[in-house]
C-alpha cells in the first residue's frame, strides 16, 4: 500500500510526557530522581553573572589611563556600594580634588591602564526553574536540570504566544465550530485554561487578559490582530517570551477554523482537570510547537501507557487540508499515486486523491496533515 510522510501535530490522549527542565548555565539541582513534584516546585537554580558597569575613571578624573591605579580607593575584588568613593585625585594641597563615585553596588572587577576603564560587577542574578507540570523526576542531569515525566494528554497547537502557564481546564463552547465570545468569559475564570471552538476575536482575547485567564486554546485567530497584542508585526514565528499574561494557543491556523475534532473531544473529556500549557512557538529548524499537557493523577505505572506513534498517510487515512483552496476540509485518502502530477498552478508535485464530502479531489501531499484517529 502506498505510504507518505506528512507533517502532523501530536494529539495524544494518553501518552508518556517527558519535559526537560534545563538551566541556562550550570548550577544546582534541587530534587532527587524519583521524587514526585507539583508544577510550582523549584527543581533547579543557578546564578547568572551579574550585570557589568564600566566607568571611565581616566576621563572623569582627567588623568592618564596608566595613572588610574594610583587614584583607586578600592582594591580589586572588593565590594563597593552605590555612591561610595571609587577613585580620587590628590588635588593641590588637598584642595580641588576630583572624585568618582560608584554608580552601582558590586565588586571591583578590573582596572585598565590602557583605557582607564574600571569594571564593577553587580550581584549575581538568581535563576530558578520550576517543574512545569505534575509528575515525577525521571532523570537528573548533573548540575544542569531534570526531566519530569508523567502520563497524560499531550496536544500540540500550530501557533502560540506567551510562555508557560497552568490552571484548571474550562471548555466554554458546546462544539468545535462555535466561536469563543466575550459573554462566555467571566471573572471566575481567572487562572483557568479556557477552550473555545473555531475562533477568538481580538476583543474576546482582550477580555480574557483583563480577567486574568491563564491561557486560551482555540481553533483560529486573525493574523493581523496579533499586532494589537504584541505591539509589533510578527514577522517570524518565534514566540514565548512576550509578557501578555494570558497565553494563546491556536490549534489550526489563522482565520476562523473549527478546532480539530479529536483535540476538541479530548479537551472536552478532561474538562476541569489541572492543565499545563506553553505558548512558546519556534517555526525554524528545531521546531517548537505550543503544547497542552494534562497529567493524569491516578496512573503510576509509566509502562502501562502505550505511546501513540506518529505514522504516515496511507490509503484510508483521515487527513486535513492545510492550504487554500480547500483549507480546513477533512477527507479520506483514496489513493496515493506514485507519479508527479501537475496542479492548476502548473507545479509538479506528489499528490493524494482525497474524498471530501463524497467528492474526489487531487491535493498535493505537502498540503495535507494527518488526523490521528487512535
Amino acid at each position: 500500500m502506498a505510504h507518505a510522510y506528512t507533517p502532523g501535530l501530536k494529539v495524544l490522549e494518553s501518552t508518556s510526557v517527558k519535559k526537560e527542565r534545563r538551566l541556562p548555565l550550570k548550577g544546582e539541582v534541587l530534587v532527587d530522581k524519583g521524587a514526585d513534584v507539583v508544577p510550582e516546585k523549584i527543581v533547579a537554580r543557578t546564578h547568572l553573572p551579574g550585570n557589568v558597569q564600566m566607568v571611565n575613571v581616566a576621563n572623569l578624573l582627567n588623568v592618564d589611563a596608566q595613572d588610574v591605579p594610583e587614584f583607586m580607593l578600592i582594591d580589586l575584588g572588593k565590594n563597593i556600594l552605590k555612591g561610595d568613593l571609587l577613585a580620587e585625585t590628590k588635588g593641590l594641597f588637598g584642595l580641588f580634588k576630583s572624585e568618582v563615585k560608584s554608580p552601582v553596588d558590586g565588586i571591583l572587577e578590573s582596572v585598565s591602564k590602557v583605557t582607564g576603564q574600571v569594571v564593577i560587577r553587580e550581584a549575581p542574578i538568581p535563576v530558578e526553574i520550576d517543574a512545569y507540570m505534575n509528575g515525577n523526576v525521571s532523570e537528573v542531569m548533573d548540575k544542569e536540570g531534570v526531566v519530569i515525566s508523567s502520563n497524560g494528554v499531550f496536544i500540540q497547537g500550530i501557533f502560540g504566544m506567551g510562555g508557560e502557564n497552568r490552571g484548571d481546564l474550562r471548555v466554554l463552547v458546546d462544539n468545535r465550530e462555535e466561536e469563543l465570545t466575550e459573554k462566555m468569559i467571566s471573572n471566575d475564570m481567572k487562572g483557568c485554561v479556557i477552550v473555545g471552538g473555531s475562533h477568538i476575536s481580538l476583543n474576546t482575547y482582550k477580555k480574557a487578559i483583563s480577567v486574568g485567564v491563564a491561557a486560551v486554546v482555540v481553533g483560529g485567530f486573525n493574523y493581523h490582530d496579533l499586532e494589537d497584542i504584541l505591539g509589533y508585526t510578527l514577522g517570524v514565528a518565534i514566540t514565548g517570551s512576550e509578557e501578555i499574561g494570558t497565553s494563546l494557543i491556536i490549534t489550526e491556523g489563522y482565520g476562523k477554523i473549527p478546532m480539530g475534532a479529536r483535540s476538541f473531544d479530548i479537551l472536552k473529556k478532561y474538562d476541569g482537570n489541572f492543565t499545563s500549557v506553553n505558548g512558546a512557538t519556534q517555526i525554524r529548524a528545531g521546531v517548537i510547537r505550543p503544547e497542552i499537557v494534562i497529567p493524569f493523577n491516578d496512573v503510576d505505572d509509566l509502562d502501562s501507557i502505550v505511546m501513540n506513534s506518529e505514522g504516515g498517510i496511507t490509503e484510508g487515512s483521515l487527513v486535513r487540508v492545510i492550504r487554500s483552496p480547500y483549507f480546513g476540509h477533512i477527507g479520506t485518502v483514496t489513493s496515493l499515486p506514485h507519479e508527479l502530477q501537475k496542479m492548476e498552478s502548473e507545479t509538479m508535485v506528489r499528490v493524494a486523491e482525497v474524498k471530501i464530502d463524497n467528492q474526489d479531489f487531487v491535493i498535493p501531499r505537502a498540503n495535507l496533515e494527518m488526523v490521528e484517529t487512535s
Binding site: N222, A285, P325, N367
Partner: protein, 606 residues
Amino acid sequence: MKKLQSILATDCGSTTTKAILIEFIDGEYRLRFRGEAPTTVEAPFEDVTRGVLNAVMEVEELSSRKLLEGEKIITPHKDNEGVDIYVSTSSAGGGLQMMVAGVVKSMSGESAERAALGAGSIVMDVLASNDGRKPHEKITRIRQLRPDMILLSGGIDGGTTKHVVELAEILKAANPQPRLGSDYKLPVIYAGNNKARDEISKTLGEQTDLTIVENIRPILERENLNPSRDKIHDLFMEHVMQQAPGYNKLMSWTDAPIMPTPGAVGSLIEMIAEEENISVVGVDIGGATTDIFSVFQNQFNRTVSANLGMSYSICNVLAEASLKNVLRWVPLDMDEKELTNRIGNKMIRPTTVPQSMEELKIEQAIAREALRLSFIQHKSFAVNLKGVQKERTISDAFEQSDSGLSLVNMMELDLLVGSGGVLSHAPRREQSARMLIDSFLPEGITQLAVDSIFMMPQLGVLANIDQKDLAESARKAALEVFNKDCLIRLGTCVAPVGKANVGDEILSVTLAMQDGSEKQVILHQGELLAIPAEYEPINATLNPAKGMDVGAGKNEQINTTVYGGVIGLVFDGRGRPFNLPVENDKRISSLNIWSNAMNEYPDEIK
C-alpha cells in the same frame, strides 16, 4: 596532477541534505545524479551523517553504482564502485553565527562585517565604539546573542590603541558563552591595529580562544579581508563544527574542509566573475533568508537579509514591504484580511505548496518584494571604502563623488543569477525571469540565469579545494558542471533608461539571428516584449530614442552580441525607475498585458 573521474558532493542544509554525483564522461564533467534526504542534526537523530548517508543512498539507487560500504563512502573510484573524492558544505543548525566589532562602525566595523559575511556567516550584530550604545548595553547584547565566534577589529596599524582595547575590555566583561557546547572557550579573532596585539592578548587571552591575524584595515585606503576570512573558515571547522552533532565523523569523511554553504556559493560567484571578467549579481532566496552576492569593479560583496524569506519569514516580508507593496504585484482584487491570514498560514505551515494559480501568484508577488528589499540592503552595504581621503580635482567637486558610494551599478551589470525554491522551481521559467526583472530592475543589457536545482554550494566547495594534486581538476569540474548543468540561461534583458511618455518609441533594434534571418524590434514606453531566441550569439544593433540610454550613454547606438536562452530576448520598456499604475483597473490590466507578453501563465486562467 590527479585526474578526477567521479566526485560526490553534499550540502547539509538546515532542512534538507542534497547529494550530487559528478562524473567525467566523454571528455567532460557532467552532473549525473542527485539525491536528497531530510537533514538529521536535531533530535531524534542528532547526527548529520545520517542525512548524508540517506541522500547518498538515493544517489546510489538512481545511479546503480555502489558508493557506500556499510556507513562509509568508498574512495577512490574503482570500476563501478566509489568516487575519487567527497566534499561537503553545511548550513545546518543555523549555520555560522558571528558577532563583529570595530572601532568606527562605518569603517573597521563595516570591514569586519564584510569579512564575516564573505566567509559565509550570519552577522548577528556589529559592535562599535561609536554605535551609540552604552558599555553596559553592549555587554547585555553580547550575552544575549551567544555567537559562535567574534571578529574584533579596529584602528590602522601603528595608530591609537585605546579604543580597540576598550572594545576588548567590554568583551571580557561580557564573558560571552558559545552557542553550542558549554565546555569550550569562545573563539575570538583579533584583526585590528598591530600595535594593540599585546594588550588584546592580556585582556582576552585567558578567557577566550584568541587568534591574532593581520589587520583587516592596515591603512584607511585598503581592506585586507582574506586573512580574517581564512581564519573564520579554519575556526568554523575546528570549533563550531566540532560541537555540532555528527560533524566530527563527517569531517573525517571529506577530502577537503567543510565550507559554510553561503561561503561556497559566494566563492563560486566570485570565480565566475573572474573567469569571464564580468559584473555579476547572484541571489539565493530561501525559506528564512535571502543571500545576495555581487561582484562589481572586481570587488566581492555578500549580504544576508536574515528575515526575508518565503516561508519561515514570509510574514516579515509582508511587515517590511507593507501589504500595499505586495498587493501591487497581484493581478486580482483581494480581501486584505483573507490575504494576511493566508500568508500567516504559510509561515506556520512552511512546507505547503501553492496548488491554485491564485496562490502561486500571491507567492510570486511576495518573492518580488523579498528580492527587492534584500537588494536595497545589498546596495547600501556594497560600497566603496568609507573614510578614505581622496584627492579631488575641480571636476570631482562638481560630481560630488565621495567615499561610501554603492558599487552596484545596474547599467554595468552583465549577469544576474537567481536560485532558491521560488526561482529555481517556478512552474515556468518565464515567471523566474519576470521575478528577477521586476525586483532587480536591470538597466541596459543584462543576461539572466537561474540555478537549475540549487547545486551552487556543492560546486563552490569543489572549486575551493586546496590540495595541489586535486585543485585544478576539481575547479575544472566545478566550472564545467556550473555552465552545462547548473546554470539555466534564461536569456537577456534589454532595458533602456530615460524619460519618456507612455507609448513613445524608446528603442529600435535590429537582430541578426544565427539562421541568417533579421528581426526588427520597436519598443515603446510601457511595453514588455519577449523575442524567442536560443542561447547563441546574436548580433544586435540598438538605437535608443532621444534622451534614452541603453548602456553607451544617452542617444548612443550600440552594436553588440547578445545571447538568448530558454526565454529569449526580453525588451523592457516599462521605465527606470519603474512605477506601476496607481489606479487599480490600470494596474491589473498592465500586469495581465505584461504576463501575456511573456507567456507567464496558462491561457485559460490568465
